[in-house]
Every structure is written in structure tokens, then in C-alpha cells.
Amino acid sequence: MTKLFTSAEAHLKARHRSEWRFRWLGRLAILFSLGFLAIMLVSITLLGKGALSRAEIALTVDLTEASTLEDVNAKKTLRNALFATFPEVTSRGEKRALLKLLSPDSGYELARQIEANPALLGQSPTLWFTASDDIDQYTKGAVDITQPENRRQLKDTTLGWVQALESRGALRSVFNTAFFTSGDSREPELAGIFSALVGSILSLTVCFALSFPLGIMAALYLEEFSKKSRWSDFIEVNINNLAAVPSIVFGLLGMAVFLNTFGLPRSSPLVGGMVLALMTLPTIIIASRAALRSVPPSIREAALGMGATGVQTTFHHVLPLALPGMLTGAIVGMARALGETAPLIMIGMVAFIVDVPNGFTDAATSLPVQIFLWADSPERGFLEKTSAAILVLLGLLIVMNLVAIVLRKKFERRF
């Protein structure tokens, strides 16, 4: 009797062990997913942080002969400046290697600096120029110089020059503003996300302008005006199914209808936004209907009871109360659209876009597509650019979702 209700019995012990195992299995399942998430985010962050800085080389350029910008042969000036810095370099091959210390665009950088400060003309100032990718990677510690020479991009002679520059204080690392302000480039040290970002913003603008009003209208009809019938059921099933159609199918639709049938401009944010709008529409309709359903019927009754028509009741009383909820749903939908890649590839937004698109019909790309394109490039420099672009994308998504959460909290249960 003393052992009453205790777990002395072997059978009971086994049952408790199995209970314990099951509970741990649950914890492990969650830890597995979250661990994966953590590893993914941490490794992308570690890879991406390099993109925030950029190596620059100081060169003393001889502008004494020039009195206007036109007089300056930027390429030649830089070449002479390099040869002057390393007078010991004489062989042709080595001279060519020496020129590769600088990024190919450094000529423009010189012109820009003179433009910004014409007083430089007639002087021989010391200016900073973007270093090439290999040197950039070296300053970030990404080049393993203990490896034998033939197994790395950065050769010993170049390494010697770089170390010489370093000891002279002519090599520095600066914040890489270009990453945020310039478009794509073949050279990783020059590539930026700005044009892709603008492409994304343009596409999302089109997407929002189409899907938000249409989504609200459809939701209003289904919740406020349609009678429950086979027809409304059919529409509803249709909407639910569209919400689960693979995104690439929307891309095929956009290609066949918008590009080939209507002849709209390929690669344009206009078409991209239209395709995204079709994808986002079901999400917005479903969220908007939920928002409408949360408006208490007493409000409709009050308005109708005063002699307002159905349309007046809906637009004056119901819609304003449901709008914050609808907007929340729309933002969540936009966040999903922002991350979409496959349908945009289908309609040709995979182009190499250096210039910032100026309008909805210009050729453009988008942030996730840019990530896809860079991910394919072999240079190590692009690896960190890809990761950094992912971080920017994730940051935007987090901001959008936070806005949605704040909006929801703020307008929750006000009536």
C-alpha cells in the first residue's frame, strides 16, 4: 500500500521514459529548424559584411600640365602615377600587372574628383582610388598568402607592391557607399544594388497600385454584396487556388499574355509589377475579407437603419473601419512580392542593368533577381556582394513586416 500511485512499476517507468523521449523529440524538431535558420543568417551575415568596405589606394597624380578637365587624360595620368610610385618596375608584363592594382573605373574617379574640386588642376595632389577586387579581398583578409603562388589570384609581385603601399600608408579601407548608390557592374568592387533596388520599388509600386484597389473591390463584393451562391463559392475556390499556384506559372502567364500578346515592354517594371499583382491579389483579397468580417454587423445595421444605401453604408462606414486591416494584409503581400524571383526571370528582368531605370517601361531588374545573378558569378568579390544584397533584402522584409505588425496592434479592436 505504501507504493500506491507511485511509478515503481516497470511498465509505468517505461511509459514515462517514452513520454520524456517524445517531449525531447519535439524540442529537437524545433531546434533543428531554428538552428538551420541561425546558421543560414549568421553565415550570410559573416559573408556579407565585407561588402560594406572597399580598399582604396593613394596615388600622387601629376596634373601640373592641365588647366581644364578636358586636358586631363585620366588613364595616362594614372598610369604615370603608378609607374612613378614603383619606378623599379620596367618589364612590360610587370607594368601591365601594375596597372591592375586599380579598378577599371578609376579613370572616372579621377575625373569626378577634379570636377568636384577644380583647384586640383595645375597641382600634383595625392588622391584615393578604388583598388581592384584582388587587393580589396586581400585587405579583408580573404586571401590566404601562405598558399603557394600558383594557387591564388594575387601573385607575389603584386603582393609585394600592395605590401609596399600598405607600409607607406597608401592603402586604406573605407565605407563602401558605392554598394548602395551604383548599379550592377562586371567588376565586383564597383557593383552596387541601387538600380536593382529602384527596379524593385518600381515593380512593387505597380503591383500595389493594381492589386490593392482590385483586391479591396473584390473583397467588398464578396463580403458585402454577393449573396451566398454557387457562383460566389466558385469565385472563392478560385481565389484560394490562385493563392497556391506556383509563382513560376504566373511568370509563364505574364510572358505569354503581357509580352507576346499585348506586346508590353520586356524586362520592364511595368510587366513585372503586373505579374506580381496577379500573384498578390489572392493574398490581399483573403486579408481584406477577414478585415471586413471583423467589422461588427451593428455598424452596418445602424447605417442601413438610417436609410443609407448599401453602397453608402459600405463606403462611408464599413470600409474606413476595415482599411487598416486591409493595409496590413497588403503590406504582408508586398513583402512576399518583394522576395519573388522566378516570375520576374520569366518576363526578362534578368538583364545586366548598370543604369538606374528611369520609368516603368525601362529595362530593369529587381533585388532578388540581382542576388540570383550575382550568386552565379565566380569572383569572391561577388560572393560578399550577394550576401550583402541578401541582408538588405531581408532587412527590407523585416521592416515591412514590422510595419504590418505595428499597424495591426494600433488598430486592433478599436470597436
Binding site: S18, E19, F22, A29, S33, L34, L214, L222, P282
Partner: protein, 314 residues
């Protein structure tokens, strides 16, 4: 009534009629989109089947859509047997489901039956974050980290692993669809009436026994629905396979080899320069229609099962 008759005859309210019509048209747009999808793809598919027979497409074992450099070139049409693509898609989806089904279901069980409100409060949004991350990010991670890791580990075990193995793509895809299963299953488990839980616990069943023998069996239809939706998402997933699975149309069930999928081929066929009427381009639409029909069927079945289940406990 008399009063309203006066207003009725007084005003026709054409604007209201117009507004209602506009609202109606907006709601019908969804149907037009569906029809648009079907028609546009059906048209191209029909053209494709003028060039390549349906049986070759559905049962052919070889996929190598060559582009002809000259129109009169021999073998310019290539071969269009979709079987390797279908098996590749199924292989990767099966791997993804093998990861996601147990992980998602067990996570849902833990969150709904064991976790305290506090743990639930942070674990659930974090899990759902997995679904909010764009697939291009998973694709990058799969190609950059997971695939080389599997290849290296396999190498140490003496296994030959392709650099773009089905296993890597499937594994990463599996993690991505975990929240699809866990959040839907969580809803479904929460809908199981508490009375059943109490009945079982009240007889001296442990929690695990109650879950395994009462709650999960009662929720099976809903759980099955969530699995089907997740499988449909896996089949339609594009970016992960484009970036991590490659284009080798191998007919194999070995997860360590490289395979390609329907979606990856659609992207490959339609990017870059193409003449619109070539069999190669048209075949992408045939694949698209196949994909659309498959996922649509899965979704319809899933939603029907889930709705039935919901009604049962209403």
C-alpha cells in the same frame, strides 16, 4: 414602405449600380486569371504537341532540348521526354517532405501540446520566419554551403556525391516548407476538442500517449491536408532548384546524384535568347501546364480535406 417608394421613383442611383458592377468585375478577375493561365498555356502546349507527340513528352526517357543552329540541321528538334524531369521533381520533393513532414508535425505537436505560452510566443514567429525568407536566399545558401558540405561529408564516408546533389536542394527546400506544415498542423491540433484530451488524460494516459493515440488520429485529415499543400509547394518551388539542383536530366533515384526539375527546366528554356515558335520554347509551356495541373489538383484535394475536417469540429 410608402416613403421608400417615393425615393425609389425619385432617384435611380445609376452610380450605385455602376459601383456594384465594378466590384463584381473585380471579383471575377480571379476567374479570368485562372482562365488566362489555362488558355495561354494550353495554346502553346497544343502547338508544342504539333511538333512532339504527347506520348514522347509524357513517357520519353530522354530530355535534351537542343536549339538548332541551322534550321535544316539533323536532330535539330532534340528530345523531349519529360520523365527524367518528373522523377527529378519527385525525388527532390520527396526529400523535402521527408525533412519537413516529421519536423513540421512534431514541432506543431510540441508547440500546441507542450510548450508554455512564453515559449510559444517566441518559437512560433521564429519558425514562421523560415517561410518569409525568399527562396532565392535558400537557393544561395544551398549552393554555397549545404551542397559543398554534403559533398565533403559524403567524400569522407567514401561516397560519390555530385556537386549539385538532389539531397542538398531537397534538404534546404524541406526546411523552407517546415512552417507550412507546422502552422497548419498547429491550427488543426488546436481544433481537436479539449474534451478528448481530458478524457484520455483522465484515464491515466500520459501526454505522449494522448497525443499519439487520440489527438493525432483525430486530426489526421487536417494533417494530411497540410502535407499535401506542402508537397504542392515543393513541386512548384523554383529558385532553390534553379540555383542548387542544376540542369542535368538524369533518370535516377539516387539522392546523391544531380537531377533537374520541371521548374528548373522552364527557367532554363525561357531565359536568354529564344525564337518564340521553336519546340524548345514551347516545351516550357507544356511543362508549365503539367506543373499547374498537378499543383492545382493537390491544392484542391488538400483544401477539400481541410474544410471537411473543420466542419467536423465546428
Amino acid at each position: 414602405m410608402a416613403q421608400s417608394e417615393i425615393t425609389l421613383t425619385g432617384r435611380k442611383r445609376p452610380l450605385e449600380k455602376l459601383i456594384k458592377l465594378a466590384l463584381f468585375l473585380a471579383s471575377v478577375l480571379a476567374i479570368f486569371v485562372t482562365i488566362g493561365i489555362v488558355l495561354s498555356m494550353a495554346f502553346e502546349t497544343w502547338q508544342f504537341f504539333q511538333r512532339v507527340s504527347v506520348t514522347e513528352f509524357l513517357f520519353g526517357l530522354e530530355w535534351s532540348p537542343q536549339t538548332a543552329i541551322r534550321a535544316d540541321q539533323v536532330g535539330s528538334s532534340g528530345s523531349f521526354g519529360a520523365v527524367p524531369l518528373i522523377t527529378g521533381t519527385l525525388l527532390i520533393s520527396a526529400i523535402a517532405m521527408a525533412v519537413a513532414a516529421p519536423t513540421g508535425l512534431i514541432s506543431a505537436i510540441y508547440l500546441s501540446e507542450y510548450a508554455s505560452a512564453r515559449v510559444r510566443g517566441w518559437a512560433k514567429p521564429l519558425l514562421e520566419m523560415l517561410a518569409g525568407i525568399p527562396s532565392v536566399v535558400y537557393g544561395f545558401f544551398a549552393a554555397l554551403v549545404v551542397a559543398p558540405f554534403i559533398r565533403m561529408t559524403g567524400g569522407q564516408l567514401g561516397l560519390e556525391v555530385a556537386s549539385e546533389s538532389a539531397l542538398a536542394a531537397g534538404l534546404v527546400m524541406g526546411v523552407m516548407i517546415v512552417p507550412l506544415i507546422s502552422s497548419l498542423s498547429d491550427d488543426v491540433l488546436n481544433a481537436v476538442p479539449n474534451a478528448l484530451r481530458e478524457a484520455s488524460l483522465g484515464m491515466g494516459a500520459t501526454r505522449a500517449e494522448t497525443i499519439k493515440k487520440v489527438i493525432v488520429p483525430a486530426a489526421i485529415p487536417g494533417i494530411a491536408g497540410s502535407f499535401l499543400l506542402a508537397a504542392s509547394a515543393a513541386i512548384g518551388e523554383t529558385m532553390i532548384v534553379v540555383m542548387a539542383a542544376g540542369l542535368a536530366a538524369n533518370l535516377t533515384a539516387n539522392p546523391l546524384e544531380a537531377v533537374t526539375t520541371v521548374t528548373a527546366q522552364i527557367v532554363a528554356l525561357l531565359t536568354g535568347d529564344q525564337e518564340f515558335d521553336s519546340a524548345k520554347t514551347l516545351s516550357a509551356f507544356a511543362l508549365g501546364l503539367l506543373l499547374f495541373a498537378t499543383t492545382l489538383m493537390l491544392n484542391m484535394i488538400a483544401m477539400r480535406i481541410v474544410n471537411k475536417y473543420r466542419e467536423q469540429y465546428d
